[in-house]
């Protein structure tokens, strides 16, 4: 078996045997569906939703992606500013750490009261959940710029801004993408929290509403879809990294 094939066959085989074992066990032990639905129950539970499952998935995806973009727009510049200006860093860093320390689930209902029950609130919740890893990694990358590169920029006569744009920011790319990888998976969690407290559609909303009606297989189906979204988005960030900033992966491996 070729190494590439192994990388697919081994995990998929394990996963399928796990599902099969789960199915057989729940049938043999006759576990009640409301306690632990079997894989087939979950599949049927998802099917019951029909086309609604697609529209709700898209709704959640929209929340995740818009929130993630907001977090990038906030997090990356903030990481840059914090890393290059000591005064600003000392001024706002503690505040940001504090903001990040607030349990997002606890503050979500309060945000609904403040900002209302529309998309804005959901985006704020997602952004708050996932901007921190993006910001911290950006700042770490900016500060990790090799000293010689900074000397090069300085001797070449680069202004402070020129130094940031021509050397620091590009050299922080691998770090920024680490932040984005963490951020995008956390954004999924943020979107679910947002939909728990404030939504009438979306997968998070379906999870709460189905659970309230004891439609556990349906709720579990939504959870499975959320997990799949999370994996797909993670891989999408990886793909973007490889496709547009391939040099930053190759140099790491080459050194």
């Amino acid at each position: 078996m070729s190494p590439a094939l192994r990388k697919i066959v081994l995990p998929v085989g394990t996963f399928l045997s796990f599902l099969l074992g789960w199915q057989l066990l729940s049938e043999a032990l006759d576990v009640p569906v409301y306690l632990l639905p079997s894989p087939l129950d979950i599949y049927e539970g998802g099917g019951k939703l029909g086309p609604a499952i697609l529209s709700n998935t898209l709704e959640t995806l929209k929340t995740i992606l818009l929130g993630f973009v907001c977090a990038c727009v906030v997090g990356i510049p903030l990481g840059v500013v914090v890393s290059v200006n000591r005064t600003i860093s000392e001024m706002i860093y503690p505040l940001i750490v504090f903001l990040n320390a607030i349990p997002i689930i606890a503050i979500a209902p309060i945000l609904v009261v403040i900002f209302g029950t529309d998309m804005t609130t959901r985006l704020i919740i997602v952004t708050l959940t996932c901007f921190f890893p993006i910001m911290v990694n950006t700042a770490a990358g900016m500060m990790d710029t090799p000293k010689e590169m900074l000397d090069l920029a300085r001797v070449a006569g680069a202004s402070r801004m020129g130094e940031i744009l021509s050397v620091r920011l590009p050299s922080a790319i691998p770090f920024i993408f680490s932040g984005l990888r963490i951020g995008v998976t956390v954004a999924v969690v943020g979107a679910v929290v947002a939909e728990f407290v404030n939504a009438n559609k979306g997968l998070g909303f379906l999870v709460t509403s189905s659970t309230a009606q004891f439609a556990i297989p349906t709720a579990t189906a939504c959870v499975v879809i959320l997990a799949v979204i999370s994996v797909v988005l993670y891989e999408a960030v990886n793909w973007a990294h490889r496709a547009f900033f391939g040099w930053s992966i190759k140099t790491k491996a080459g050194e």
């Binding site: 010689e148 090069l152 001797v155 021509s166 900033f245 140099t251």
Partner: protein, 294 residues
């Protein structure tokens, strides 16, 4: 004191420039000795966290003339690199003066260009764009800049690599590219900080000879920091030997090995004698005595 050329007398502040026993005024091979760099009692003292100031360089006096290659050698920690950083403008002298001549002060790599121990190519730029980087910092590169970059890549033997990314090049090729980058804005002075120190021995010899060729072609004034006495003697017109803690000038050795030099120069008796003199300067008679006994 021993001698003074007209160029030296014409200089603005002759009292501040003591002489350092320069021997043999013809050896450097430069017909007109026009000073281009001058360090007068230059020193750098760092404040440390513990409170005791660290004297990195003390009372450094050195005049470098146009078109010559001068090497700085000395034990590690003698402040060679600090001297280089002073001239590059990365470190202000805390005492004394530095003067860089050659007409009006230029910006960036047109004034002094720096070659580092590691190639320090920017991994997100192609080889061509790396060579153009010092231009881009100051302005948008013109067609003339691009053809100049291509010429320089030819000079260092990388004309076929212009569109490659740095990680596709070997270490030696990367260092060649960084030398091409240093020359893009036709700097007055080329500062090289152990430029071949990170290369394997064979590549190193190859690049040393290439540097001699490049110098023959471009006539750049080069100040080179090196750990290798052999490299210093092979490449230089003069070798400045520094002593450690505090870093200061110890000796200035005129290298009168005839040019053009090549790999075979290393076997000449005068080459070996000069190497031995520098070695004695650095290690003192102690090691020589041990060596004789063994």
């Amino acid at each position: 004191m021993i001698h003074a050329t007209p160029a030296r007398e014409a200089h603005s502040k002759p009292e501040t420039r003591p002489d350092f026993g320069m021997q043999g005024r013809e050896g450097a091979g430069t017909a007109r000795r026009e000073p281009i760099i001058e360090l007068a009692h230059a020193g750098v003292t760092f404040a440390t966290a513990k409170g005791d100031p660290l004297v990195a360089v003390e009372d450094m006096n050195l005049t470098i003339y146009r078109e010559e290659i001068v090497s700085l050698v000395g034990p590690s920690g003698c402040g060679k690199s600090t001297v280089l950083r002073m001239l590059a403008g990365l470190q202000q002298p805390t005492s004394g003066d530095i003067w860089i001549g050659g007409g009006k002060t230029q910006r960036g790599f047109s004034e002094v260009a720096l070659v580092f121990q590691r190639p320090t190519l920017l991994p997100w730029l192609s080889v061509m764009d790396n060579v153009l980087y010092p231009v881009k910092v100051l302005q948008r590169p013109t067609k003339a800049h691009r053809s100049r970059a291509m010429e320089l890549l030819e000079l260092v033997g990388l004309q076929d690599m212009a569109d490659r990314m740095p990680h596709e090049l070997s270490g030696g090729m990367q260092q060649r590219a960084s030398i091409a980058r240093s020359l893009i804005l036709d700097p007055k002075i080329l500062l090289m900080d152990e430029p071949f120190g990170a290369l394997d021995a064979l590549t190193r010899e190859d690049l040393q000879l290439d540097l001699l060729d490049i110098h023959a072609e471009t006539r750049k004034t080069i100040l080179l920091v090196t750990h290798s006495i052999n490299e210093a003697v092979l490449l230089s017109d003069r070798v400045a030997v520094m002593s450690a803690r505090p870093g200061r000038m110890q000796d200035l050795v005129e290298i009168d090995v005839p040019k053009p030099r090549g790999a075979e120069s290393g076997a000449r008796p005068d080459f070996l004698a000069l190497s031995q003199r520098i070695r004695d300067d650095i290690f003192g008679p102690r090691l020589s005595r041990k060596g004789r006994r063994a």
